[in-house]
Symmetry: C2
Subunit: 357 residues, 2 copies
């Protein structure tokens, strides 16, 4: 439903209807000027040719320094989805299973299905503050379990896994011989400190992206940090599928890293302000929700809600949201992304609250 | 060996060694100025967001008009390799087989192996002017044959399939219920007229790219034209792997199409001049080769040559070529790509001819 609603919203827009799109985590903030200029200069310098499948050495080195790993562990990719697809494609061809805490980002499920993996959802609940139950996790793991996907901070709940819980999860994974794929694309602009998986162990997989931190969603650039053996296999697969992420886009990403603190702080402030506003409106409407610990998403619950019906109704009223069913068995929930200008948030949330009355 | 030699050449270069790279089909010509400016303007306009997985409607429409199909048949992709990978991934998961005329572009073989397809090579020979033997083709096809890959014009032979042969191949494919995947990435700048697969039948698959025609290899943009059912499946798969090709890159591609005739003519002239020069040098050295009908490649043969050894020796002498073994069982052949400035061609070819004496 995530993609269906979005394609419908885009189509309505292309026919001239005004839609406030709270359905996609696509920051309204423009890509900063200096990043665009850097890409343009690189194009003019002729950085428009085939290059290294693993990514440019200078970008891999910058990222290696940030994450305290070696450049040979870093693979540059056209977005985090791509990384997740290639990793699952390589590791899970033979019907292995993957544990995914739910609610979960739609793509994990669709990718796992596409590559033929078995999915084992680990349900979390709003009433226990979306905590991962490590006993349940232990029960779900068996000999065919290859991966555990952590989305930290989580989309759609905007919940961060606390350090103690993360340590326990890593302990279980290590004891049972499974790999954690930690998707941390919201970590740089999180409202609270996020413990990176690499801070606990280099045996697991980090996925990150430039999309959310720098307003670069449509540039398609992200990266993964993995052990050397898997990195080599990913690079070989990129050689026969992509060749390389455009070098001028890698230059843009490098510029983004150069100004990371300043750009990430600005982004975080924008989203904190919006989150506070949404929190106020939802509280006044007596909606049930957890305070977000990271930008973009709220995932409120209304007893007996059919969120798919709500999403379609709201589209007619000019607001796009995503039904909870896009993230698992969460029909009573819906997700909003605060990725629209401040002045659109209040009217859009009011339309939603009215529709829920 | 194609990718190994290239990574080695890039590495030597990064250590300061001068290498004349005749090993990759990456045009030395810069991306035309107006294409770069168009991308830059689009970035500044904010075309840096998520968008349609199938590609932008205006670009799909332009391409549909060029190929006399409907826009819903066109899917924009980050290069032709990705198109080939996704198509094989969707069609050949269950051990079906694919027929590939050889010599063949390395990636077809590596992709087929990666998705678990069985490969049946259809050998062609320099002595019969690289003609596809349709009787042999018939013999190779069985109930598990799903695809026939045509690379027209061919890499590495620069041979174009003539109309009569193509008609016969389509007739066989239709009679036996297999799909032709026609990779025509060199067609727009071919020295002779190329019959597109779509001119004979809309049941088959066209792959094309902006890379070679417009000096846009590193931009990563190509497209496929397929029947609607497969197009829909490809779009769904792009939603969960890539999201979309950057819109500003699609704008650049659209600008390229606007100026296609002029840009393609210039490109074709450059390569015809170089091909004539190479032909003269190779003839004088009494090398055995076929006159190229399309740009970039020569695939000469020397009796008893070990082309892998030759490639490594030449790398030491500052020239990168690709051994014939990268394209199948063609150890006595080697491939050169005339994708370097004119003034580098003569010295590089002389070094090669000396090494062969």
């Amino acid at each position: 439903m995530l993609y269906e609603i979005n394609e419908k919203a885009l189509e309505l827009e292309s026919r001239g209807k005004k839609i406030i799109k709270l359905n996609v985590g696509d920051p309204d903030q423009s890509t900063p000027h200096e990043i665009i200029e850097t890409a343009y200069e690189a194009m003019k310098r002729g950085e428009t040719k085939y290059s290294f499948a693993a990514g440019e050495p200078w970008l891999r080195e910058d990222l290696a320094n940030i994450h305290c790993v070696s450049p040979e562990n870093v693979v540059i990719m056209p977005g985090s989805k791509w990384a997740i697809f290639l990793i699952m494609y390589l590791l899970m061809k033979n019907g292995e299973n993957v544990v995914i805490p739910s609610p979960h980002w739609t793509s994990y499920e669709l990718i796992a299905k596409s590559v033929g993996a078995e999915i084992r959802f680990l349900r979390t609940e709003i009433d226990s503050n979306w905590q991962i139950d490590t006993e349940k996790l232990e029960e779900l793991i068996d000999k065919r379990t290859r991966l555990l996907i952590l989305n930290n901070p989580n989309n759609p709940t905007s919940k961060v896994v606390d350090k103690k819980a993360l340590e326990k999860i890593v302990e279980i994974a290590d004891a049972r011989g499974i790999t954690i794929l930690s998707d941390e694309v919201y970590a740089n602009i999180s409202f609270v400190k996020v413990e990176s998986i690499l801070g606990l162990s280099h045996k697991h997989i980090l996925i990150n992206s430039f999309s959310k931190t720098f307003g670069m969603t449509g540039w398609r650039i992200g990266y993964t940090i993995v052990q050397k053996g898997l990195a080599d296999r990913l690079v070989k697969l990129q050689q026969i599928t992509l060749t390389n992420v455009p070098v001028f886009i890698q230059r843009a990403a490098s510029k983004a890293l150069e100004n990371m603190n300043e750009l990430a702080n600005k982004m975080r402030e924008d989203y904190k302000r919006r989150a506070d506003l949404a929190s106020k409106i939802f509280s006044a409407a007596r909606l049930k929700f957890t305070e977000p610990e990271a930008p973009f998403y709220f995932f409120p619950k209304c007893i007996n809600l059919d969120s798919e019906k709500l999403a379609l109704d709201l589209l007619d009223k000019g607001v796009a949201i995503t039904p909870g069913t896009a993230f698992g068995q969460y029909r009573e929930h819906f997700r909003i992304a605060l990725t629209v200008p401040d002045e659109e948030i209040k009217p859009a949330l009011n339309i939603i609250c009215e529709a829920l009355e």
